[in-house]
């Protein structure tokens, strides 16, 4: 029995590429879910998706200029992501339209531009790689980059945590204190872009959002407190990363989708069985009327 468990759960990590993939996944699991929790609480769950598309042209341009060099591609991704965020923000301020409509327009433009750029320079294999990533091909340079970005995100988030909480809850209070709510918002969006850039190598630009949002939305079924939400989301993400890697190893399926699908299974199960707002909680609430006598 122990041997079987060892063979299933531990032995795969004897390979260097699996170890690097695991570390990359865990680093991302530490940084991405808290961002997802804040995005969800601000009613911006889909903004992460939009930003993921926004980093694509930069990644593609980096790929065209420097070939498959992760630092250059990441730099391009961060720059184009920030550019799109700033553009969308200023267009919505200028026109008075809601930020999400500007964001939607820009992310569609950037998706098209990105795909066009990748096709100009490479084959369809490269395109697949950029869009869907390959966590099993993470080398030590990529690992260093991912770990550094994750650390920067966690530290910055700790610095702006309180301001961010107050900005979510009551932006007027923050403004009344003379703090720039838009600055906090901007730094936060910058972190989202950074996070997605770190994720694109392992999960691809499209699926990097999955590790950010799915654990966060799942956590909502289990906790009503901010600390609880973040802790549960981080644990879920770590579990999905390692579990997804093992699944991908044993079943020879692509790792990115395996990780996100595992997180997705967690979401569906939680929606059915979670403590709050789940199907089970709903049924249970109807079953016990208020002030009912104890059952015998």
């Amino acid at each position: 029995m122990m041997e079987l468990l060892h063979e299933w759960l531990v032995a795969p990590f004897d390979y260097g590429f699996m170890r690097r993939a695991a570390v990359a996944g865990l680093a991302l699991s530490l940084a991405a879910p808290p961002m997802g929790v804040f995005l969800m609480l601000r009613g911006m769950s889909l903004i992460g998706d939009a930003m993921a598309h926004a980093i694509l042209p930069g990644v593609a341009l980096g790929f065209l200029l420097a070939g498959f060099s992760l630092p250059i591609m990441s730099l391009g991704g961060v720059l184009s992501g920030l550019l799109i965020a700033v553009l969308a923000g200023s267009v919505s301020q200028m026109t008075g339209h809601r930020e999400d409509s500007a964001m939607a327009s820009f992310f569609l433009i950037s998706l098209a531009a990105g795909v066009m750029l990748v096709s100009l320079g490479g084959s369809s294999v490269d395109l697949t790689h950029v869009l869907f990533g390959s966590i099993l091909a993470v080398n030590s340079t990529a690992l260093l980059l991912i770990a550094s970005i994750s650390s920067v995100i966690v530290i910055t988030l700790a610095l702006i945590f309180r301001a961010l909480v107050v900005e979510c809850l009551d932006p007027l209070f923050l403004r009344g204190q003379g703090m720039q709510g838009s600055l906090v918002h901007g730094v936060f969006l910058g972190l989202v872009v950074l996070n997605l850039t770190a994720g694109f190598q392992t999960l691809g630009t499209l699926m990097a959002v999955g590790l950010m949002m799915l654990p966060a939305t799942t956590a909502r079924f289990w906790s009503k407190r901010l600390e609880g939400l973040i802790t549960i989301a981080v644990l879920l993400a770590a579990f999905a990363s390692l579990g997804g890697l093992l699944l991908s190893y044993h079943l020879s399926v692509p790792s990115g989708p395996a990780i996100i699908l595992l997180a997705g299974v967690g979401y569906v199960l939680s929606a059915l069985l979670g403590r709050h707002h789940s199907l089970r909680a709903k049924l249970q609430r109807h079953a016990i009327p208020l002030g009912a006598p104890e059952s015998h």
């Binding site: 609480l41 309180r162 301001a163 932006p171 009344g176 703090m179 009503k224 407190r225």
Partner: protein, 281 residues
């Protein structure tokens, strides 16, 4: 707590209201007479000088000049659209004056504003205690955590407002009155020296109104300048000492007594300002 210990404690704590503590001491020693004289002699901490405020290029208020008395509760009254919210925005520095200026010596972190349409996101997972504690963070920075002293003050504040039993309740589960108590708790925590409230008693139960009035009076007695938008004549008579009437784009300073004597039928009707001496509507 013995009175002098209280004064000493306030002097020791930074920026709290040294002025407030001094004033409390003076009031204690001189029976309040000197305090009035001091207020007359000193410029007040909130003054308006020939202020003109506009919303979307349309002038709402102009030639507004006057001073709000320190340590007093001033009611802000006027018909709908008379410019009450506009004036508050101007005072809080969220609306740039077209002309004139708002002269306010209260540091930003000691100004508190409780808007009428609550901009609070009540689905946000936060407890009453956590909300009250946010009142303390502007003064001690973004990095330092709360220490035992802050938590003790937070518990005192909640006890004073009668919401101790709700400390760990999420905001989303509160009633209107409980929510208003928690929000006032945040301004108490902030040790606000300037407090602006936009209809604080709307959608609030009678018991909460009593508690909040007591707390506001105490805050004023401790030296805070409080400005309250009110629509209810009875509440105005019980709470405010001074009244600013907004009508026809102008502001007039008057006293509660003058308002009460003129017996306006409805304080927020368009005809309200007509009967008050010194106000041309």
């Amino acid at each position: 707590m013995p009175f002098f210990v209280d004064v000493a404690f306030r002097y020791a704590s930074p920026a709290v209201g040294r002025r407030a503590a001094g004033r409390a001491l003076a009031r204690r020693l001189l029976g309040g007479r000197l305090v009035g004289l001091m207020a007359e002699a000193q410029p007040s901490r909130l003054e308006l000088h020939d202020l003109q405020l506009a919303q979307a290029n349309r002038t709402v208020l102009e030639h507004v000049s006057g001073r709000f008395r320190d340590g007093a509760i001033t009611a802000l009254v006027g018909a709908n659209g008379a410019g009450k919210s506009t004036l508050i925005q101007g005072i809080m520095g969220m609306l740039r004056p077209v002309k004139g200026e708002v002269r306010c010596t209260v540091p930003k972190e000691r100004r508190a504003w409780l808007p009428q349409q609550l901009a609070l996101d009540l689905t946000f997972p936060m407890s009453v205690e956590e909300l009250v504690m946010t009142g303390s963070w502007p003064s001690h920075g973004a990095l330092t955590g709360y220490c035992a002293r802050h938590y003790r003050r937070g518990r005192e504040v909640m006890a004073r407002l009668g919401i101790s039993h709700l400390a760990h309740r999420p905001l989303g589960e509160l009633s209107g009155g409980q929510r208003q108590r928690a929000l006032i708790g945040r301004t108490l925590m902030q040790e606000a020296e300037l407090l602006l409230l936009d209809e604080p008693f709307a959608n609030v139960d009678a018991e909460t109104v009593e508690v909040l009035m007591t707390v506001l009076r105490d805050m004023a007695a401790e030296g805070a300048t409080i400005i309250v938008v009110l629509h209810d004549m009875e509440q105005l008579a019980r709470l405010a000492e001074e009244v600013v009437v907004l009508a026809g784009g102008h502001a007039r300073w008057t006293t509660t007594q003058a308002i009460v004597q003129s017996h306006p039928s409805a304080i927020d009707s368009a005809r309200f300002a007509l009967g008050i001496p010194g106000v041309d509507a």
